[in-house]
Structures are given as structure tokens and as C-alpha cells.
């Protein structure tokens, strides 16, 4: 059986599972205008800017790259850039324009302040919204999908039920010629040797271990104890005792496919197969990196309950904790409690989740989308000057 989904073709050859107009700030001081524009236009998604101004070197390059990456995500049909001044906005414009998507830009200084900028932005977004509304869904092979693998608000049920179920889906996507990306560097501490054994070649394995070791060395150099931060207080309440225990459960999201590539935060995967993306563990920064890396969809396991989704990338919440299914169901899309309650084999739970995921790719909305429980924030790697 060759799995397919119904998606939106893009001029760069990629396929969206949503057809959003991105209204995005070039830098943080544009966010109020960006909000004003996005709120006025149906189908527009608000993407706040993070810093840019005052950033230097690699830190600035990463923020620019990730901001562009969000616009290049296949779920984005067209883009309205809101900038303060034209030079920095031009840098971002040049990164996005080669995709062939419609891009318009509003510069707040040139427009003459907030009210004019919002009016110009709304008209630009309206033009793009009308244009991209003509794009119809078509049937595409699953090989066009890049699946993000995420966990948040984890507990011990995550490692027993929801993460392994997601792992089954990841393997199915990879087997179909698609891509899957796992991230959250610190959540490999204690499990990395097992993941490294799955590297397709020695160089990839070395690259992966280098990323893990560099993150741990950062913590060691600071003389701090990761236990103050991870596992989090709610992870601990959910029964997770150490980062090693959390990592062994978290890794199950990746299934058992070989690791073919290691990516920097927000970098695009260029070949089919399972990738590791270096990046922080907290959900908002992490899913923002996955969205910038081109994931149209993420499967996000939660134990004690983490509701957050991303405005660019559709997020499916999966839980295997019966208490969470009882008390937090407004924010859960898929229930795998039968793994622990009814001895449902992981393969069966994963197959159910896979079928549901195909439906979501073809248009079924998730709780995070319907309730607009969505947030975007780009990680910071240096200081402002």
C-alpha cells in the first residue's frame, strides 16, 4: 500500500498540508503591527519576531535563517514581511523569494507609522490570501512529508505508550521515502549511545555524539546541575526521576530507522530518512525549530499535559496517560491509553495514529489549531550588543 495525502503544491516542489498566509515580523519591534495585520485577515497566521536587532555573528545568522525557514515551510502559501527598515527586511526577503511564493513587504518607517503600516499590511495580506485561495489540494505520496517528533509535559507513560506509538509512525513515514526529525538535544543524555548505534555511517554517528557532548559540556562548564531544569517539576510529578530515564523514553519517538543526518537548529533536511536536529528541549523553541526545518506536521506526545502547538506546523497531541485523557482532553488529539489499559500492541496503536495522521495531513484540524493554542519563538544563542 502506497500511502498518500491531499496537500497543496508549492512552486518550489514542496507540498503543504495547510495553506496559511504568514504575517511575520522581521524583528521584535514590529510585532504590534504584525499582530494587527494577522488579526484582520482570515487564514493569516501571526509570527512574532525574535530580536534580530542587536544580534551578532552566528546568533544573528541563526535567527535570520530560522525566520526565513518558517516562511519557507510548505504549509505557508504566501508571506507578508513586516519590517522596521528596508535593509534587514531585504535580507529576509532575499532568503524567501527564491521559493516562488508570493512575498510582500511593509516597512514601518517608510509607511509612516503604525496605522499606515497595518493598513498596508492588511491590503498585502488580502491580496495574497485571495491569490493562494485558488490553490487546490491534490493527492501526493507520503514521501513528500517531513514529520517532526516532539514530546512535552512528559511522564512515565510517554516512554511506555505515546512515544513508542509515534515511533511506529516515524518508521512508516521513513519507509515511504519521507523524512522524520527528532530533536531536544539534552533529552538524549543517557540514551545517546543507543541512538548512535543506529547511524547510517560512522561520520553521522560522530556528528550526533559531538552535538550531544557539546551540549552536556556547556552545562558542565557552567558548573550547574541539569536537575534544576530537566526533568521539569511536572515531569517529576509524573514519575520521571532522572534525565536518563526521560531520554530513554523520549528516544522511542524515533522508531528504529537508521539515523541518516544531523541538522543544526532550524536547518532543512535534504535527504529522505530519520534526522537529528540539535536544539533545546522546551516545546515552543523546539517546535519552532522543527517548523523552520520544513516539518509540515509534528507528532507531540504528552504525559501530564502540554497544550502548545505551532502556527506554521500542524501539531498532533498524543497521550497514553488515562488521567490526562480524563482531565486534559480539550488539548489531546489522540488517545493511546489502550496500550497500558488493554494491552494494545504498540504496532497497533502506531498504525491507528498513522491513519489519523494521514487524515490530518489532508485537512482534519487538530485541537491546537482549532483553539489557536499556538506559539512561535526562536532560540537565542548569543547576547545582544
Amino acid at each position: 500500500m502506497n500511502a498518500t495525502f491531499w496537500g497543496y503544491p508549492r512552486p518550489d516542489g514542496s507540498v503543504g498540508i495547510r495553506n496559511h498566509v504568514a504575517v511575520i515580523s522581521v524583528m521584535d519591534n514590529c510585532n504590534p503591527v504584525t499582530r494587527g495585520v494577522a488579526n484582520a485577515v482570515k487564514g493569516a497566521v501571526y509570527l512574532p519576531g525574535s530580536y534580530i536587532r542587536g544580534q551578532l555573528g552566528e546568533d544573528r545568522a541563526i535567527t535570520l535563517r530560522v525566520t526565513a525557514g518558517l516562511c519557507l515551510n510548505p504549509n505557508i502559501a504566501g508571506v507578508v514581511l513586516i519590517g522596521l527598515e528596508p535593509v534587514t527586511m531585504g535580507e529576509l526577503f532575499d532568503l524567501i523569494a527564491p521559493s516562488g511564493k508570493p512575498v510582500e513587504a511593509v516597512n514601518i518607517q517608510g509607511a509612516g507609522g503604525t496605522i499606515n503600516s497595518i493598513a498596508m499590511g492588511i491590503r498585502a495580506a488580502m491580496r495574497i490570501a485571495r491569490e493562494v485561495s485558488k490553490i487546490a489540494r491534490r493527492e501526493f505520496p507520503l514521501s513528500m512529508l517531513t514529520l517532526g517528533l516532539e514530546c512535552g509535559g512528559s511522564d512515565t507513560t510517554s516512554g511506555l505508550a505515546s512515544n513508542p506509538s509515534i515511533g511506529i509512525v516515524a518508521d512508516k513515514v521513513v519507509a515511504a521515502g519521507g523524512k522524520a526529525i527528532i530533536t531536544e538535544t539534552s533529552e538524549f543524555f543517557g540514551a545517546e549511545h543507543l541512538f548512535a548505534e543506529r547511524a547510517a555511517d560512522r561520520a553521522v554517528g560522530r556528528q550526533f555524539l559531538d552535538a550531544i557532548n557539546a551540549a552536556e559540556e556547556d552545562i558542565m562548564k557552567q558548573g550547574v546541575d541539569l536537575r534544576g531544569s530537566n526533568p521539569t517539576p511536572d515531569n517529576i510529578r509524573g514519575g520521571l526521576t532522572t534525565i536518563e530515564e526521560k531520554a530513554l523514553g523520549a528516544m522511542a519517538k524515533s522508531g528504529c530507522s537508521p539515523l541518516v543526518g544531523v541538522l543544526e537548529y532550524g536547518d532543512r533536511a535534504k535527504r529522505a530518512g530519520l534526522h537529528f536536529m540539535a536544539g533545546p528541549a522546551p516545546a515552543v523553541e523546539s517546535i519552532t525549530g522543527l517548523a523552520a526545518a520544513g516539518c509540515q506536521l509534528a507528532m507531540f506526545s504528552t504525559g501530564v499535559g502540554n497544550p502548545i502547538g505551532h502556527p506554521v506546523m500542524t501539531v498532533i497531541k498524543v497521550s497514553g496517560n488515562r488521567n490526562t485523557i480524563d482531565t486534559f482532553s480539550d488539548n489531546v488529539d489522540f488517545d493511546v491509553t489502550s496500550v497500558l489499559e488493554k494491552n494494545e500492541p504498540i504496532e497497533a496503536a502506531g498504525a491507528r495514529l498513522f491513519d489519523y495522521g494521514l487524515g490530518v495531513c489532508s485537512g482534519e484540524l487538530t485541537t491546537a489549531e482549532i483553539l489557536d493554542v499556538q506559539e512561535s519563538a526562536i532560540s537565542r544563542f548569543g547576547l545582544s550588543m
Binding site: A191, K221, G223, T241, I243, E245, G249
Partner: protein
């Protein structure tokens, strides 16, 4: 019935998938069988020692090391942050040296 999930036959802890009251018989499911008496109330999702664990012993779950016991732990006792510590990313320990 109070159930505790054993992931690997070599594990010295099991994960409760029902809450246990002190004195409850906890039945192992998964890669082990038999039962043990909980020595205290233990919440859903928390771990129980399946055998006596000595201070300094490794805690094994998934057949892998998840930490180290900071005190002797009786069979049937709650195993968590009060009696287990992580061994990774412990910059605090390097500083102390």
C-alpha cells in the same frame, strides 16, 4: 488490581500504571510476573523497587541505567528523586572537585 509495568527482565524498578496504597499487592505486568507489597502510597506513573537496592547501586529501567541510589531502598519502596540521583549533566559535581 494494582499493576506495575516491567520493561526489561533485568530492571530493578517497575512503573505503576495504577496508584498503590501502602500495603497493596502490586502485580507485575510486561516482562516480569509475580507481585510485591508497596511499603508506602505510590502515585500512578511512579516507580516501585522490585528488589532491595543498595546505596550506590545503579537503577535499571528499560534494561539501562537511569541513575544511582542515594540510599538503601527496600523492595516495594517508592523509587524517585528522594532516593535516586541522575548521573548526567552534573556540572555541580565538577565544580565541587
Amino acid at each position: 488490581m494494582v499493576r506495575a509495568f516491567v520493561l526489561n527482565a533485568s530492571d530493578n524498578v517497575a512503573t505503576l500504571i495504577d496508584p498503590a496504597a501502602r500495603g497493596a499487592a502490586v502485580s507485575f505486568v510486561g516482562q516480569s510476573s509475580g507481585s510485591i507489597t508497596a511499603t508506602s502510597d505510590i502515585a500512578f506513573g511512579h516507580k516501585i523497587a522490585v528488589q532491595p537496592i543498595r546505596r550506590g547501586d545503579q537503577i535499571i529501567k528499560y534494561g539501562k541505567v537511569i541513575g544511582q541510589a542515594t540510599q538503601d531502598i527496600a523492595a516495594g519502596a517508592h523509587v524517585h528523586v528522594h532516593n535516586v540521583e541522575a548521573l548526567r549533566a552534573r556540572g555541580d559535581k565538577r565544580k565541587a572537585v
